[in-house]
């Protein structure tokens, strides 16, 4: 379980997070939903120990944590196969086994053997995202942190990758903390939603969310999500008087 308790975080003298509480349970996909720039990525970076909180405690009892960044962050000089196998470097000594496992994961994510040797520059955006997902999941993490990994992709591809990610996490019983500002993405992938808002930011509310496999169901779920009291004010445009002022 990942628990962030009473977290405070200051950056450049500005208090970004205050009294921030969040729990991610095993096997559950928790979506951290909030508008752009509120500090969602900061929360992921704190969870990944890339940042230290100014106050509060973070307890990560998951045995292995992995990360899918907003941009794929692939090694441009390594093939798709080597990029995926890279994540196994600290876990598996045999290069042959690392590559065999990477082949398995790339196949699982829809790659043909002829794509294994391609460099990132030769792959489309969607393929690069899939390589990044394979790299994150090949280590069989108990928790994967996902930072809007599909934000740059078009809707159909995004939807397919959301479903694929969800299925792969389910199959491995991997918990995920998925950051997004997109209601459709939230409805498509979340088991639980944590709504982030305020300034300094904190988790305003959390609620369970049912998975939505088909497209018509997704739009219904998005409409329901948009109507929820928990989201009131979080994504609304600023009041007119605030703009004129």
């Amino acid at each position: 379980m990942l628990t962030l308790s009473n977290i405070a975080f200051t950056l450049g003298g500005r208090l970004l997070l205050d009294r921030f509480d969040l729990t991610v349970s095993p096997g559950e996909i928790t979506v951290l939903l909030g508008r752009s720039g509120i500090g969602k990525t900061t929360v992921l970076r704190l969870a990944a120990e890339l940042l230290r909180p100014t106050g509060g405690t973070i307890v990560n009892s998951f045995r292995r944590t992995s990360y899918v960044f907003q941009e794929p962050r692939l090694l441009p000089w390594s093939s798709a196969l080597d990029n995926v196998a890279l994540a196994l470097d600290p876990l598996e000594r045999s290069r042959r086994k690392r590559r065999a496992e990477a082949e398995l994961w790339l196949t699982r994510l829809g790659f043909e053997p002829s794509d294994f040797g391609k460099y990132p520059a030769q792959l489309s955006g969607g393929m690069q995202s899939r390589v990044a997902i394979a790299r994150a999941l090949i280590v069989k993490p108990e928790l994967v942190l996902m930072d809007e990994p599909f934000a740059a992709l078009d809707f159909p591809l995004r939807r397919q990758l959301q479903a694929l990610t969800r299925d792969l996490c389910r199959a491995q019983n991997t918990a995920a903390l998925f950051v997004t500002h997109d209601l459709a993405e939230t409805a498509a992938i979340a088991d639980r939603v944590a709504v982030m808002g305020g300034s300094p930011a904190q988790v305003l509310s959390t609620f369970a969310q049912a998975p939505t496999p088909s497209l018509p169901e997704l739009w219904v779920a998005v409409a329901e999500l948009a109507q929820r009291d928990e989201l009131r004010g979080v994504f609304d445009p600023p009041a007119r008087h605030a703009i004129s002022r």
Binding site: L86, Y119, Q122, M127, R130, L157, Q160, A171
Partner: protein, 277 residues
């Protein structure tokens, strides 16, 4: 078959370039006579004499030791200092002006100083090559380390990559793009400096033999030694940097025009339901 053809095609233009150079040589000889430029046939005959006399092996091994030994020393020290300077910011800041000073000093100054410090023997030439090539590699490594992608470093931290993987899979490949031209420069400098040191030194190596041929006004032999050096430079450059350049060519992000057309099946992942694990 295709591989052979492409390799043969890749050789055509360099061969034409060298042929053009030889043609200019022949034209100069034809226009100004053997006192200015010996004929190609005389030079080839001189080369044959050198090879038959046994002087070739001695001179070649001496020059190789000075140039290759010196440049290896310079590259190792420059790379180590550049890496340390890039990772430890104050050290890099302290070393950078020293490297600039060394770079600005003409190699001839180091040749003279080396002779004073180490004598006119082989060690002086070797140390001179090392001193003149060190700052070139240092500056390139320092710049490469400083300009490395912090996002990839962060990725390595998240995946808890061991030190060795970070170095071999991330740091060294990211340095390759800046190091390749620096290595080419350092290797070219190494020959120039080694030959200068040998010409001014104890007469050892190709430089020493060249100076001797010049003293005897044997222009054909002097040109034969020069031709030998040119061949040596090309071979050493190909052996030492050929595979690095080939790797860089393959691994550099392709330009948008060179991007491989993705077939429709690759553009989208399979339906999630088909790929349940």
């Amino acid at each position: 078959m295709t591989g052979w053809r492409s390799r043969a095609l890749a050789l055509i233009w360099p061969t034409l370039g060298i042929a053009a150079l030889l043609m200019v040589w022949a034209l100069v000889h034809h226009a100004y006579g053997a006192l200015v430029m010996p004929s190609l046939a005389d030079t080839a005959a001189a080369l044959q004499r050198i090879a038959a006399s046994g002087a070739l092996i001695n001179a070649l091994s001496s020059t190789l030791l000075h140039a290759v030994g010196g440049v290896l020393l310079g590259i190792s020290a420059g790379f180590a200092l550049g890496l340390a300077g890039g990772l430890i910011v104050p050290l890099g800041a302290a070393l950078a002006p020293i490297a600039s000073i060394i770079l600005a000093i003409p190699p001839i100054v180091w040749v003279v100083l080396s002779f004073l410090w180490f004598g006119v023997g082989g060690l002086g030439a070797l140390i001179t090559v090392a001193i003149t090539t060190l700052p070139v590699i240092f500056a390139a490594t320092l710049q490469g380390v400083r300009a490395r992608d912090p996002l990839l470093a962060e990725m390595a931290t998240v995946f808890r990559l061991p030190w060795r993987s970070r170095m071999t899979r991330i740091m060294l490949p990211s340095l390759a793009t800046v190091l390749a031209p620096a290595l080419t420069t350092a290797i070219a400098i190494s020959w120039k400096v080694a030959l200068t040191a040998e010409v001014l030194g104890d007469g050892s190596g190709i430089g020493g033999r060249f100076a001797e041929a010049r003293a005897h006004l044997d222009l054909a032999e002097a040109m034969a030694w020069i031709a030998l050096v040119a061949c040596l430079v090309l071979v050493v450059d190909k052996i030492s940097l050929g595979s690095l350049r080939h790797w860089l060519q393959r691994a550099q992000p392709a330009s948008s025009s060179a991007l491989i057309e993705q077939p429709a099946r690759c553009a989208a992942p399979p339906a999630a339901t088909e790929r349940r694990c």
